[in-house]
């Protein structure tokens, strides 16, 4: 929408109303993380700002367009709206975006079949001329998260929107994440080019010769080194970025050693963290020996330490395999740092280790990865209404869980992949930490993400769905609780390895992702698909979000929708726990006990955490900078007294200043001030000169007119 008055500040204040479902609260926080990762838009709990977004559970999913400047601006995440893409969609509305097909140029790209629209619903297909709505010089995007699907508001079975490029017919109206053009428009609208995103650090697919500014350090005596190659003797034959699809492209970094036990180090460029916890993700291939390993270090720099201090993070033994494997490593540094990859050769010198598609961001790593090899074949060869099951994974919270997937859909939705999440328990009750588990499980959010394997995390449009264990949820027609111990409410099943365990009832969706969309983008790469799985504890979101201590929320105005949340009191809750970040990171390796499907392997690699120097915490470390919100892309750092201070953004001729970088100045301002000062001085001097001259002249005249005798 055109008009600066509709813009929010880049740090958007929000209030999660108490009527929201707990799962919705968790999904909203996950959506905020995506905004932080991909754009310069950030969100903060409302602390008394004049305008803020109040997210509540209305009767449906809806939002206003842009900042209406009404104080409390409502945005509804009702029942069924608690999907990542839906939340991103509604917040894009709030940030000032219309639907994609309402652009002034939409008729060049889609054909609206008015005869197929339900009578009275034609208003949903408005379009706006370019004096009201700007497409910000970004081409029409069939893949926008703001686009209707082809069946929107249809009266019969025929589509209401027909794409003029047929290839997009099945994929418009995607229910995945923001597209690259959505992100680009957001960047333009909010001038993100000056600061970049909040939590992204680096991405490298090694396609360019400068290898993203990485540097190599090898011992003088060593004849081993990292090399940028497009294939390596013994494998891999192709990289992971392009998987051999482009002649003349497709590079990765390969380490091969001439001597056993030799090593070489590859260091990233300098990185400047803001948060204190990061996730490093990359793909690894081992064509050497099972004793080859990759050690991950960080080199951290203090103010007066130019050489940096090495900190050992993790050692990874990649299995000998004919495939690339995804790997996650959790980091927790608050200082300027580099990431260091040290490859160490094993006993043999043939082949070696390779890495590709590296991403580093300030967020939590997914806990587990379920890799399905030959996924296209699995989709083709699995009958409708047939599920395949992941191995059992043990979360850092102690609960074990499992995903069921219907690759060819269910009877009621045969064109949609369906997925459900189940808690599990061992038959003999010897699960680790089993004794300490609380049943029914309380507010544990399980998330399954089908990963878009684009090499750059900022361009991924993954598909995610989460469910949260409500301890009060009943089983249909029973007094039992849905999320109770699977030994009570589940069924006894036998895994592929013969182990027996109980699988609890599942919660999930029959419309996880349509088949055409699953076959689009990079959901399947090298034939494989990756499902990222996590379990987060949302107990801290059960309590109301604290209200600002001295501010009573202003009354809501300007909206015509009913169903606003209950009136809240001004009592300040003593509970805490509302943070900007999602919780739970871990380097733990899943206990993959079994799988009922032979074509599925668990891709997680064997890793050996160091004994003392690596944080094995499952929570992000406490960050002193949480208490200090730097504005305008300022970076919070710790000073010598370990106190958080803002380091403000600056350009060649401008800079921010102030305790929170809240003020802006520039050389232009200084020039203006200098010119004005100069002019003022000049005017004052001129006036002084004028007055002096006037007085002198008058005195001369008076002397000239006096009588001669008086003079003597």
């Amino acid at each position: 929408i055109i008009g600066e008055e509709y813009r929010w500040p880049r740090m958007v204040p929000y209030y999660l109303e108490d009527d929201l479902e707990i799962n919705a609260k968790g999904v909203i926080l996950k959506a905020f993380e995506q905004y932080r990762l991909k754009t310069c838009i950030d969100f903060k709990p409302w602390s008394g700002e004049q305008n803020y977004i109040s997210v509540f559970k209305g009767n449906g999913c809806f939002s206003s367009i842009g900042n209406r400047r009404v104080g409390k601006q409502t945005l509804s995440i009702g029942s069924g709206c608690d999907r990542l893409a839906t939340v991103e969609h509604e917040f894009l509305h709030a940030l000032g975006f219309w639907h994609e097909q309402s652009r002034s140029d939409r008729d060049d790209y889609v054909y609206i079949d008015w005869d197929q629209i339900t009578e009275g619903k034609e208003h949903n297909f408005n379009k706006y001329n370019d004096s009201v709505s700007s497409f910000l010089n970004v081409p029409y995007d069939y893949g926008s998260v703001m686009h209707y699907s082809q069946k929107a508001f249809q009266s019969g079975s025929e589509p209401t929107i027909i794409t003029r490029i047929p290839d997009f017919k099945e994929t418009i109206g995607q229910r995945m994440e923001m597209s690259q053009s959505d992100v680009r428009k957001l960047h333009t609208l909010y001038h993100c080019n000056k600061g970049g995103s909040s939590t992204f650090l680096d991405s490298c697919d090694f396609e360019t010769e400068n290898i993203c500014g990485m540097i190599q350090v090898s011992g003088e005596e060593s004849r081993a080194s990292w090399q940028r190659v497009s294939s390596a003797p013994g494998g891999p034959d192709t990289d992971y970025t392009q998987t051999g699809r482009c002649a003349g492209g497709g590079y990765f970094m390969h380490f091969s050693a001439v001597e056993p036990e030799s090593s070489s180090q590859l260091e990233s460029r300098f990185l400047y963290p803001k948060r204190g916890f990061q996730c490093l993700q990359f793909f690894i291939y081992n064509s050497g020996d099972s004793s080859d390993r990759l050690r991950i270090w960080t080199r951290e720099f203090d103010l007066h330490d130019s050489n940096g201090t090495l900190r050992f993070i993790q050692e990874i033994y990649a299995p000998l395999s004919d495939a690339w494997h995804i790997q996650h490593v959790s980091l927790n540094t608050s200082k300027k740092f580099r990431v260091l990859f040290e490859a160490v050769a094993g006993k043999r010198t043939l082949g070696g280790l390779s890495i590709d598609d590296l991403n580093l961001w300030e967020g939590s790593c997914p806990e587990h990865v379920w890799r399905i090899r030959g996924f296209s074949g699995v989709m083709e060869n699995t009958s409708v209404d047939s599920a395949i099951y992941s191995p059992r994974f043990t979360s850092s919270l102690g609960y074990s869980f499992q995903v069921s997937l219907y690759p060819n859909g269910t009877g009621s939705n045969p064109d949609e992949l369906a997925t459900f999440l189940h808690l599990t328990s061992s038959d003999d009750g010897d699960d680790e930490n089993d004794d300490g588990l609380v049943w029914p499980a309380q507010w544990k959010q399980m998330s399954v993400t089908m990963m878009d394997q684009n090499p750059d995390i900022r361009q991924r449009m993954s598909n995610q769905r989460s469910v949260t264990t409500d301890p009060n949820m009943k089983l249909d027609g029973s007094e039992g609780f849905f999320w109770d111990d699977p030994r009570k409410v589940g069924e006894l099943v036998t895994g592929e390895d013969g182990s027996r365990y109980y699988r609890g009832p599942g919660a999930g969706t029959k419309v996880f992702l349509s088949r055409p969309r699953a076959l689009s983008r990079n959901f399947i790469k090298n034939g494989d698909s990756l499902f990222l799985l996590s379990m987060d504890d949302l107990s801290h979101l059960v309590a109301p979000q604290p209200l600002p201590s001295s501010t009573v929320p202003p009354p809501q105005t300007g909206s015509t929708v009913t169903g606003s949340p209950e009136n809240r009191t001004t009592t300040v809750s003593s509970t805490s726990g509302f943070t900007n970040a999602t919780t739970s990171t871990t380097t733990a390796i899943p206990a993959s006990s079994s799988s009922s499907v032979t074509s599925i392997t668990n891709s997680t690699l064997t890793t050996i955490p160091p004994s003392s120097s690596v944080s094995s915490s499952t929570e992000p470390p406490t960050d002193p900078c949480v208490s200090l919100q730097c504005e305008n892309d300022g970076v919070c750092v710790l000073d010598e007294a370990n106190l958080p201070v803002c380091r403000c953004a600056a350009g060649s001729d401008w800079w921010f200043y102030g305790e929170r970088c809240e003020f802006r100045s520039s050389t232009h301002n200084l020039i203006v001030i200098a010119v004005i000062s100069g002019v003022c001085v000049f005017v004052v001097m001129l006036m002084a000169s004028g007055v002096t001259t006037y007085l002198c002249v008058r005195r001369q005249k008076r002397r000239a007119t006096l009588p001669a005798d008086w003079l003597f």
Partner: protein, 44 residues
């Protein structure tokens, strides 16, 4: 290989996207999910 199917709760009730949800909820909002605002100076 198909595995036995236990209890499954569909949290989406088969509804594919937010417009289905709003329609099912009886909402008839501006362009499906936009709050009408008189300050915009237009109606549907």
């Amino acid at each position: 290989q198909a595995a036995p199917r236990g209890i499954e709760h569909d949290v989406d009730g088969g509804k594919q996207d937010l417009f289905d949800i709003n329609e099912d909820a009886g909402l008839d909002l501006f362009e499906g999910d936009i709050l009408f605002d008189e300050k915009l100076g237009r109606n549907s």
